[in-house]
Symmetry: C2
């Protein structure tokens, strides 16, 4: 659908609903046509900035009547093109829905509008002694994180959005509004609609409110970083830690090239070698106990330079550096396009898959970096591609195919936390087999006109 084909009657109706919060300006459309990924821009025909669930429902009803696509837009931080309006239509910008509606400290949950970002929420919670742990790299919206089934560095202890979304308010493809679930801590009352919409990337409904779990800020937190002679040695330390069942908060691997980028970007002087970032949390005795065991394990794998940091500011600086890896790598590779990947394997297969993948990338001209939420078996290999060199992109695509093939053979998944979007649709049949047909049945049942984020997640 091109701008010319966008029904004038629909535009008029949208303007009647939203006034000047409907835009068809080139700059607004361009801003809503791309994300943080390598995927090509496609502009929506119109951008609608919404302030309420009812407005979203109104837009959906209008678009449904005209069979025009609708794509939700949050922080714009997708890494797989999930928000790109492949077939034009309306981009529904939810960032104006940024109200924190109800903090229920007693029940350890909070309800927010979908446009609230994770940092905004945690800033708001600061005085309550509670926090929301799910932390993708970007300051994403809670709605976008739910739609992507996102996670981050805290998942090894607190789980992903799958485990942390209690319930959702969703606008269906016909404009009806539902709540997916009560606020009870557990329930066996029918189908798990929360889970149906979490991770559906806007293809089954538009998430407008989210209730998530909160946790008490641990009494004591401490960080440690530790340099290893090799990626293998670091991974072996991780595997032993997980298998001992230690309630470690974070455990992140950065390879030597990534450390180089981080040093430059975040003004650090870490030894340029594969490095694990740890965070321990709990009571003082529990933190001491965990750290002692992990230090022992790391040293057994030849680690040197085990460094503690109990100081809150230093800890925050280290973890900010970890969160800024994406920007550090981009800063170090001006003019290149970052080709991100996101496989996740059972931890028993992690060392092998990493070793073979690194052996593969070593054959190629482009620079690669490795960052891993290794406690979950999830890692991101980033390839820095010259956009003027089609051969590099081709090679990267082949590296990617082989990495996913290796991952699936090991019982893993093509995406741990970034979502399918556009880039991973081609792996879905290999990963899921006939289960893809069940996904199609659900999609067709919930969005029979295929107006919700068409062309995403499910291969045709």
């Amino acid at each position: 659908m091109t701008a010319a084909a966008f029904p004038p009657a629909l535009l008029d109706a949208l303007k009647a609903l939203l006034g000047d919060r409907v835009s068809t300006s080139e700059s607004d459309r361009a801003q809503h046509g791309r994300d943080q990924s390598r995927h090509e821009m496609h502009m929506p025909d119109a951008v609608c900035r919404v302030l309420s669930t009812e407005e979203v429902a109104g837009i959906v009803k209008l678009c449904a009547a005209h069979s025009v696509p609708i794509v939700p837009f949050g922080a714009g931080s997708s890494l797989e093109g999930a928000l790109i309006p492949l077939h034009g239509g309306v981009s529904v910008d939810l960032t104006g829905m940024n109200q924190i509606l109800d903090v229920r400290a007693e029940d350890l949950d909070v309800t927010v509008q979908a446009g609230v970002t994770r940092k905004q929420l945690n800033a708001y919670l600061r005085d309550t002694g509670l926090f929301f742990p799910v932390d993708p790299g970007a300051d994403a919206t809670i709605g976008g994180m739910a739609a992507t089934r996102a996670s981050g560095t805290n998942a090894v202890r607190y789980g992903t959005m799958r485990e942390n979304v209690v319930s959702l308010t969703v606008v269906l493809a016909d404009g009806r509004i539902i709540k997916t679930r009560s606020r009870a801590k557990k329930s066996s009352a029918g189908y798990d609609l929360t889970a149906v919409f979490v991770g559906s990337e806007g293809t089954l409904g538009i998430i407008t409110e989210v209730t998530v779990r909160l946790y008490g800020i641990p009494e004591v937190m401490a960080a440690a970083i530790c340099a290893f002679p090799s990626v293998d040695a670091a991974v072996d330390t991780v595997i032993q830690t997980i298998q001992m069942g230690l309630p470690i908060s974070r455990m992140e691997l950065l390879d030597d090239r990534t450390i180089e980028a981080v040093n430059a970007y975040s003004k650090l002087d870490l030894p340029v070698t594969p490095t694990l970032f740890f965070e321990f949390a709990g009571s003082q005795s529990s933190v001491d106990e965990q750290a002692e065991i992990v230090e022992e394990l790391a040293k057994g794998e030849g680690a040197t330079n085990w460094k503690w940091s109990k100081d809150a500011d230093e800890r925050a600086k280290l973890w900010q550096a970890r969160h800024d890896v994406h920007w550090a790598i981009r800063a170090q590779n001006p003019g290149k396009v970052g080709f991100g990947t996101d496989v996740c394997v059972p931890i028993s297969a992690l060392a092998d898959v990493l070793r073979e993948t690194r052996r593969d990338t070593a054959q190629h001209s482009f620079s690669t970096t490795l960052v891993g939420h290794v406690g979950d078996g999830n890692f991101h290999l980033g390839m820095q591609i010259d956009p003027e060199d089609p051969d590099e992109l081709n090679q990267a695509l082949k590296v990617y195919d082989r990495m996913v093939e290796r991952t699936l053979a090991a019982g893993g998944t093509c995406t741990g936390e970034h979502g399918v979007g556009i880039g991973k649709m081609k792996y879905m049949r290999a990963e899921h087999g006939d289960a893809i047909d069940v996904m199609h049945l659900i999609k067709n049942a919930l969005d029979p006109k295929n107006i919700l984020n068409p062309g995403k997640v499910l291969p045709a």
Copy 2:
């Protein structure tokens, strides 16, 4: 459908597939026509004892061709009539599928056939240092537990089947076999089919294999029991414990009448007053720390008689007594029919809902007992009804209606862990509103002929 209407050609085809593992005997049909609930028996026309996923697929294809209902059967321990073949047809008995297929200690998961029971699995795991925590009262099958989204006393720490099922093998309504997910610890690769089938009670597909998470057996475990002057005092202790975020393993409330029944059945001599059962687990220092804090909280609420038990045998005896509550109550009420309930509320509402519910039951002639997984806000009020007195049943039904109304008003659910089955369908619209229509869309998409456990979960 009556036995007379069961297609002879279907029976012949089933016999050709399964030989003498097809039965139409009165005793087999009766055994597969009832569960542990108050719900009326309905017999299947035939019972098929299966040994493989492929056999289940074969049965489903045959039944689909004849539009004959199929109901899966495990341990027969449903408390809501989930397994009762309301419309006759074939009861697929999965208890012969009792193989433990693959323990992956490194990945902390195991794949089992659906007929493996939770006690069988834990006995098998004994030497690995690992265990599977989900523990409903009965020695249920893992397949049945997945289908019911079951939980039990360990849920407060380890979660329910929702959190502990990694993936499923499912036979669809057309006989196709799918796997719902990879074994990766986290994934954003498309719709969460595992969650779609967990809790669907055999209405969307038949679960034949289950991969579940395992956990390291904690270094130290200790139990405590503590007598309280009132249910309110016990609940206040629970609420404070949860809000402090203590990683407590179990926290169970039994009221005075229940303690009376437990004393008689399990040969104990606990003080006959509202009582909390606690379990603490972790390292020695963590267990000591938790127990000290909770003892302090309990004493602040007027608790007396705080009793420790670090001895494994004594601990096992106490928790067996807790698990046998269902039988203890039945033994104490000969000739009565137990009317079980299973609401779950946000913990901030627990004290109020319990108080009002107990005030309500106090007005009635029948005996009531209260057992609660109170750390999750989940409790079971049991009413012991004279089956010869229709007025008692009527009164119980009204108590139940009012309890659910109170629960929903407080943001809770009509079933925390027993499932909807037959008895709670009437509450589903009040709990879910229009979201019920989404459940219907999914049901119609996955089982268009309505042959999978028809008449359950979703109200017409």
